[in-house]
């Protein structure tokens, strides 16, 4: 166990250093760098959404709204109030967390598709409000955002997200969330405060996607309300389902794969979206439970040895 952790730690540092070196020397061309950053941001978005949808079983479609909150708050802090980047990112995430609680409390009593539509509504409310706030540029958004997101920050926050959500899930708190997904009534009679855990998972998810929003804003120069439309929430959902509901490594792999696919398809010109959509359908038809199912890709799995845990054919309880 200890040796395994050490090995993983060394690998992570080596990977960090390798990419750092490669970007500095231009070994990774700028175009792939853009996609590298998108990958990191997508990983954070997908893993955090997986906590809500995959582990807690709450079909929420307002993820882009929280991303917007994180992005806007952090940009206000860095650009208008001259605060340091780290503080701005954390403040953006904290704001998203609070909004998550605010939104989660009333809506999480809803079930399945009703919850989906209510959260989608909240995402749209946030976007429409931003359209009307001149302080943040209205529909035009804010441009000229300093490029403060660098590889180090991106790497740290991506790892932090995975690490914390993994720790959360593999604890009694995480099990409480899963029990809510599997059988809410039984969970409640077993002493689980289901509302608390639903809201907790929801706002933790919001917190991390708020970080993703802040990183996004400080890499991409411009943020606009239109950037955070419900299509962005869908994108994150695609990654979660594609990776496997309730599999963190699945979400990571899917986020990388989807970003990569999107980048690769750029050469197909106007056909790129047609092909992307087609691939989406084909992948789902052939692998409906997602790449990983509910399993995790672990060190042991990769390098032989048997993994404990259930099979991949868990019935979905997400939206019943």
């Amino acid at each position: 166990m200890k040796r395994e952790n050490l090995l993983i730690g060394i690998l992570l540092i080596v990977f960090y250093a390798a990419v750092f070196f490669a970007t500095e020397t231009g070994l990774i061309p700028p175009y792939y760098q853009v996609n590298l950053y998108l990958m990191g941001i997508n990983i954070i978005a997908a893993v955090s959404l997986n906590l809500i949808v995959g582990f807690t079983g709450q079909l929420a479609l307002g993820h882009a709204g929280f991303m917007a909150v994180g992005a806007y708050i952090s940009v206000i802090l860095t650009m208008k109030l001259g605060q340091p980047f780290l503080l701005a990112v954390l403040a953006g995430a904290a704001a998203a967390f609070l909004v998550g609680i605010l939104i989660g409390l009333p809506t999480l009593r809803l079930k399945g598709d009703y919850l989906a539509i209510a959260t989608l509504g909240f995402g749209e409310i946030i976007r429409r409000l931003l359209d009307n706030i001149d302080y943040v540029g209205g529909a035009a958004g804010i441009n000229g955002i300093p490029k403060l997101t660098n590889w180090t920050w991106l790497y740290i926050f991506t790892l932090l997200t995975i690490f914390i959500i993994k720790n959360f899930v593999n604890s009694t708190h995480g099990r409480a969330c899963i029990s809510v997904r599997d059988n809410e009534i039984a969970a409640e009679t077993m002493g689980i405060n289901t509302t608390y855990y639903k809201v907790l998972a929801f706002s933790i998810g919001a917190f991390f996607v708020g970080i993703a929003g802040a990183l996004y804003a400080h890499y991409f120069f411009l943020i606009q309300p239109a950037t955070f439309s419900f299509m962005k929430s869908f994108d994150a959902l695609v990654m979660v389902v594609f990776g496997g509901l309730g599999s963190i490594t699945g979400s990571v792999i899917a986020a990388v794969a989807v970003t990569f696919m999107n980048a690769a398809l750029i050469n197909f010109g106007t056909l790129r979206m047609v092909i992307y959509a087609l691939l989406l359908v084909i992948i789902m038809v052939f692998r409906p439970q997602g790449l990983m199912g509910t399993k995790e890709l672990t060190f042991k799995r990769l390098f032989g040895g048997k993994e404990r845990g259930g099979s991949a054919n868990v019935n979905d309880k997400t939206s019943d």
């Binding site: 061309p29 700028p30 175009y31 760098q33 853009v34 996609n35 998108l38 429409r128 359209d131 009307n132 209205g138 529909a139 035009a140 958004g141 441009n143 000229g144 490029k147 991409f220 120069f221 411009l222 606009q224 309300p225 239109a226 950037t227 794969a257 990569f260 696919m261 980048a263 690769a264 398809l265 750029i266 050469n267 197909f268 010109g269 106007t270 790129r272 979206m273 092909i275 691939l279 084909i282 992948i283 052939f286 692998r287 790449l291 991949a312």
Partner: protein, 389 residues
Amino acid sequence: MKNNKWLVVLIMMLVAALAATGCGGKDGDSETIKVGVNYELSGDVAAYGTTAKDAILLAFDEINEAGGVLGKKIEAVVLDNKSDATEALSVATKLVTQEKVVAHLGPATTGATLNTIPVITEYKVPLITNSATHPDITVDPQTNKTREFVFRTCFIDPPQAIVGAEFAVKELGVKKVAVYYDNTNDYSKGLYKVFKEHVTALGGEVVAEEGYVESDLEFRPTLTKFKQSGAELIYIPGYYEKVAKIVSQARELGIDVPFLGADGWDSPDLVEVAGPEALNNTYFTNHYSPQDPSEKVQNFVNAYKERYGSIPASFSATAYDAAYLLADAIKRAGSTDTEAITKALAETKDFDGITGRFSFDEQHNPVKEISIIEMVDGEQTLKTKIAPK
């Protein structure tokens, strides 16, 4: 079960391989001058991106037929940014760093264009947009410095709105106006603000102002509200597809006051949808008029019509101008060095384009006359031309 996972991975690898070969094939021909064309070809505003791209390709073909530039042919590298600002940056990065284009045309919208600026600035590649009208495009609002590598062939929001306001108050003699703008569009909101300012400055009054959303179809509720407001003119700084519906629904509700708009109105579809009758007593400010009898304009209109089957809208005209302007600048620079081209672009004087003869001012905005078009029985007629102050 297991097999499916690998099948999926296989599919993705296939895509990657295809993509890789796709980009490999284009390399290595130094006999051409590569120009990046980064436009909205799918997604929400694909209609505008596509017309611009069409006009650019037409212009390049004409230039190449006439012998090209500096003895070389221009090769357009066309990529789709999905009407998404993030993608626009991705595309620009690919064009600039991988395709090594000497200049970058597009995107069409302000947001997407803004997002490409850091990249083209970093790699010192000039960019010309044909329809991003926001002032921030060419001037950094934080430093008030002109962005060295960014140019445009369309005029910016303020002059157009100022001319519109002047026309409304002075020529049409109205005092009370209503404004109906696209709340999700910076172009539209920009025009609305300047227009409001100037109408008020000229002694007029804005009695009602409302915003719609880009996905709206139904405008009657707001129009009914306008009807009660006593407005003598309704200003709609929006795109033709919405404008046509707004005007048509307004006339249906019995609103017969004049409508005034801006270059977003220009499209043959405006008449087709709203009908010639509803459009009587409407005006808009524009870059050019396809009715303009000048030979240059008519040649362009005919060539475009022949190739694409429709009358070119003003976005096509400004895009066409952007393409010719670029070719002209390369000629003047005498090289394909990006900084030389940029310099030549900045020095543009009296360029004779479809949308008028223009020079760039210090902020890289074209100084040209603004046409006011009146719709008469479905025909665009040139009412007057006003040079903004």
